[in-house]
């Protein structure tokens, strides 16, 4: 009796699946669907929700100016739940079920790596907004986030300029910090500096007591930190408690932007340094418009940062590329995007290179008590993106099909 009932239920499940097929939606006339795939739950939701907001803002703006090719853009929002397998699953859903023409999303390299085969299999296009470790070059992804040579290496140049030659490398234990540090190590040695320590803490780790002891022993000129998220708060708190000030031993962070500074309380990280391709304090007309629009949509207290502006710019470039190509076909769009030429954006002039990564300017800033960065240094013009660092990975080249 019991097992019979189970079988009925199982059959019912199958029927439901079947219904799902019939319900599969297709784009109506006059609209076109795009996917927005970020973690809205789980550990990465903190960061990714704001990028999703910026992406939606850009879609609103494009729609307000008449849409693309006469069609309104309809975003289909999915949750990657901070789980690479779910990112891959949802990417497949967006492409196959919802029939979106392109997808904006991803944050961690793990999520991008998990989605990559899906986009290649179904010949679709992903716009990826976050700075990353490079070493990847897929024709189905537009990499707008910084390559190592556009964020990390400029920061090192700046440190060397300031005479800081003894560097301590500290990161959360995942791919970006480890690879970034591998590249940094080569360049530090080549530039005549010394790596006096290299340490990793598990993601979400909160105890830095041993690492601070190691830092005190090593006496570096500067700490290069690729710590992620909340670990930063613990690190800076425990650093301060141990009596180490920014003046004595500055920290250069690659994962603290305005959002993080705000949530950590600016007093804690006051005086520390960061390298990005965008700061909210940048003084240009596009940025002012962007900030005003974002605040009017999401509230006065909102702050903006680098990944958000990339999520925003991605949509605008996609729309421009669609117009140029006259089609939503991913192949035509990605070609057109690399042929657009220089575009003004909140982060300065940008354009997609033929390797489908973005030309952009690097900035080094110092955190002020109001939670904003004061720009101390900027690269000479927009830097060409190099997915493979020539020193660390000789002989590797990125060729897009």
């Amino acid at each position: 009796m019991r097992s019979l009932l189970n079988r009925y239920v199982k059959l019912a499940v199958l029927c439901l699946c079947g219904l799902g097929v019939c319900g599969a939606s297709s784009a109506q006339n006059g609209t076109v669907k795009v996917g927005v795939l970020h973690s809205l739950s789980g550990t990465m939701a903190i960061s990714e929700v704001t990028v999703k907001n910026a992406t939606l803002l850009a879609i609103d703006q494009v729609n307000a100016s008449g849409g693309v090719l006469g069609k309104k853009i309809v975003p289909v929002i999915e949750d990657g739940a901070s789980d690479p397998a779910i990112f891959s699953q949802k990417a497949q859903k967006l492409i196959q079920q919802d029939r979106v023409v392109t997808v904006f999303g991803g944050w961690t390299s793990a999520s991008r790596k998990a989605m990559l085969p899906v986009f290649e299999r179904f010949h679709s296009l992903l716009w990826y907004p976050v700075q990353f470790e490079g070493n990847e070059c897929s024709s189905n992804i537009m990499y707008s986030g910084a390559q190592p040579n556009q964020q990390i290496l400029p920061a090192l140049d700046w440190a060397f300029e300031k005479g800081k030659k003894r560097i301590f490398l500290l990161g959360s234990d995942y791919v970006f910090p480890r690879t970034a540090n591998l590249i940094l190590k080569k360049h530090i040695v080549q530039g005549g500096g010394t790596v006096v320590g290299e340490e990793y803490v598990p993601l979400g780790g909160t105890d830095f007591s041993s690492i601070i002891t190691k830092i005190e022993i090593a006496k570096p000129d500067a700490v290069f930190s690729t710590l992620n998220g909340d670990s930063n708060v613990s690190f800076f708190k425990q650093l301060a408690a141990a009596g180490i000030t920014q003046a004595r031993m500055p920290v250069m962070s690659f994962s603290i932007a305005e959002q993080e500074a705000k949530s950590m309380g600016p007093s804690l990280v006051n005086g520390s340094f960061a390298a990005w391709n965008y700061f909210q304090s940048l003084n240009n007309p596009d940025n002012k418009k962007f900030i005003a629009a974002y605040k009017s949509k999401y509230g006065k207290d909102a702050v903006l940062d680098d990944p958000m502006v990339h999520g925003y710019v991605d949509v605008l470039i996609w729309a421009a590329a669609v117009k140029k190509a006259g089609s939503f076909d991913p192949n035509a769009v990605r070609k057109a995007a690399t042929e657009l030429g220089w575009t003004d954006s909140p982060m300065g002039q940008v354009k997609f290179a033929d390797n489908q990564s973005l030309y952009q300017t690097a900035y080094v800033g110092q955190l002020q008590p109001d939670g904003q960065f004061k720009v101390l240094w900027q690269s000479k013009g927009a830097l060409r993106p190099e997915p493979y660092d020539a020193l660390a990975f000789p002989g590797k080249r990125c060729v897009v099909k």
């Binding site: 009796m1 019991r2 097992s3 019979l4 009932l5 189970n6 079988r7 239920v9 199982k10 059959l11 499940v13 199958l14 439901l16 699946c17 079947g18 799902g20 097929v21 599969a24 809205l40 739950s41 999915e78 949750d79 739940a81 901070s82 789980d83 690479p84 397998a85 779910i86 891959s88 699953q89 949802k90 497949q92 859903k93 196959q96 079920q97 961690t108 390299s109 793990a110 790596k113 998990a114 990559l116 085969p117 899906v118 290649e120 299999r121 470790e133 070493n135 990847e136 234990d173 995942y174 791919v175 480890r178 690879t179 591998l182 990793y200 598990p202 993601l203 660390a392 990975f393 590797k396």
Partner: protein, 367 residues
């Protein structure tokens, strides 16, 4: 007569699932395929937990071992001769580590995907059960194991792909994975494997092994004083569950194409258990059903209202355990009891018996 009816239902079920590629969309088919692969893992959990009373919060470890072993093979077959996987390159390795070569050919990889998790499970289980450590202690140790395993995978990036895990598989056994025809083939292979595992589990549970396992759940010392060595039985059961988990993991990545530490840690491991609890921990068809329902439910809820998923999951845990400890498989029985007149004294006595048993277990824990 009843047996024949059951058999025909089995056949109808199997047929309905086997024909799924013809009536399901490609996306839903791929979902169904990966959930059927997970159901193999659930059978193993039912074996140890539903029958043996061993709660493991670290099944993700064995599942992950199976998945990683096959993923290593897939990664190797996709390489040009003399090349190394990309993540090794950017982690500073310049040649392939020797133990990776083990999985270069398909047979060792397939055997390894089952044998390695089984061996690890057996080793751990023997070390712990032989010392009479069990119950809550064992659950906590396995949870720590899940945490340590994912931490280790992340920190040994040069050998494991680190936080990103292993992904981007192109071919298996000379076939192109992304070919839709091959996807369908993988689905059928998964279904057939699940059916075989189901029959296998039913067979050993009906043999004396199953009886002894159930007896161990009821009273481990009692069984020991009948001349059986509970540690041996539990170790074998745990190793079997490990093998099923490894097999499940290996099949799963064929559907998903990615394995990463985030899929094997503490939280996924405990989600595996809840799927079994929902279905009914001691019912083999129940746990398959539970796995499908919970995972389809997760897919649906997390699309519709992502922030609700965790709340729904939490409530599910509490409700299943307090209201429906037998899971969905217990509903027919509970319904039948509702409509039948109650037996005298039996019902009111039940909670007290539980209480006494609890006190006895308390004294017995780690005896």
């Amino acid at each position: 007569m009843k047996k024949r009816l059951e058999l025909s239902f089995d056949a109808a079920m199997l047929a309905a699932l086997a024909l799924a590629p013809f009536y399901l969309s490609s996306y839903h088919l791929s979902l169904l395929g990966r959930f059927l692969a997970l159901a193999i893992l659930s059978l193993g959990i039912s074996l140890i937990w539903g029958w043996g009373g061993i709660l493991s919060l670290g099944q993700g470890v064995f599942w992950g071992l199976g998945a990683y072993v096959l993923a290593m093979h897939l990664k190797l077959t996709g390489l040009a001769p003399g090349d190394i996987p990309d993540f090794m390159m950017w982690s500073g390795l310049d040649h392939l580590p020797g133990w990776w070569r083990l999985f270069q050919s398909p047979l060792p990889a397939l055997v390894g995907a089952i044998a390695i998790p089984a061996a690890v499970a057996a080793g751990l289980a023997w070390l712990v059960f032989d010392r009479r450590v069990r119950g809550v202690y064992f659950a906590l140790i396995t949870q720590a194991l899940a945490l340590a395993f994912s931490t280790l995978l992340i920190s040994e990036q040069a050998y494991t792909g680190g936080f990103n895990g292993l992904t981007d598989f192109t071919t298996i056994f000379g076939r192109v994975i992304i070919d839709p025809g091959f996807q369908r083939g993988i689905y059928w292979i998964t279904l057939a494997t699940l059916a075989l595992c189901f029959l296998g589990c039913r067979w050993i549970l009906n043999a004396s092994f199953g009886k002894v396992l159930l007896a161990i759940r009821d009273g481990e010392s009692r069984v020991r004083f009948l001349g059986y060595n509970p540690a041996a039985y539990k170790t074998v059961a745990f190793a079997l569950a490990g093998a099923l988990a490894g097999l499940s993991g290996a099949l799963y990545i064929l559907h998903v194409g990615v394995i990463s530490p985030a899929m094997v840690g503490v939280v996924p491991s405990i989600e595996m258990v809840i799927a079994v609890a929902v279905g009914g921990r001691a019912s083999l068809p129940g746990v398959i059903l539970g796995t499908l329902l919970v995972n389809f439910g997760k897919d649906w809820i997390s699309s519709a209202m992502p922030e609700v998923w965790q709340l729904a999951m939490g409530l599910l845990f509490i409700l299943v355990v307090t209201v429906l400890p037998q899971g969905l498989a217990g509903i027919p029985g509970a319904a039948a009891r509702l409509f039948r007149p109650r037996r005298k004294r039996q019902e009111p006595e039940a909670p007290r018996r539980e209480m006494r048993k609890g006190a006895a277990m308390a004294a017995q824990e780690k005896d």
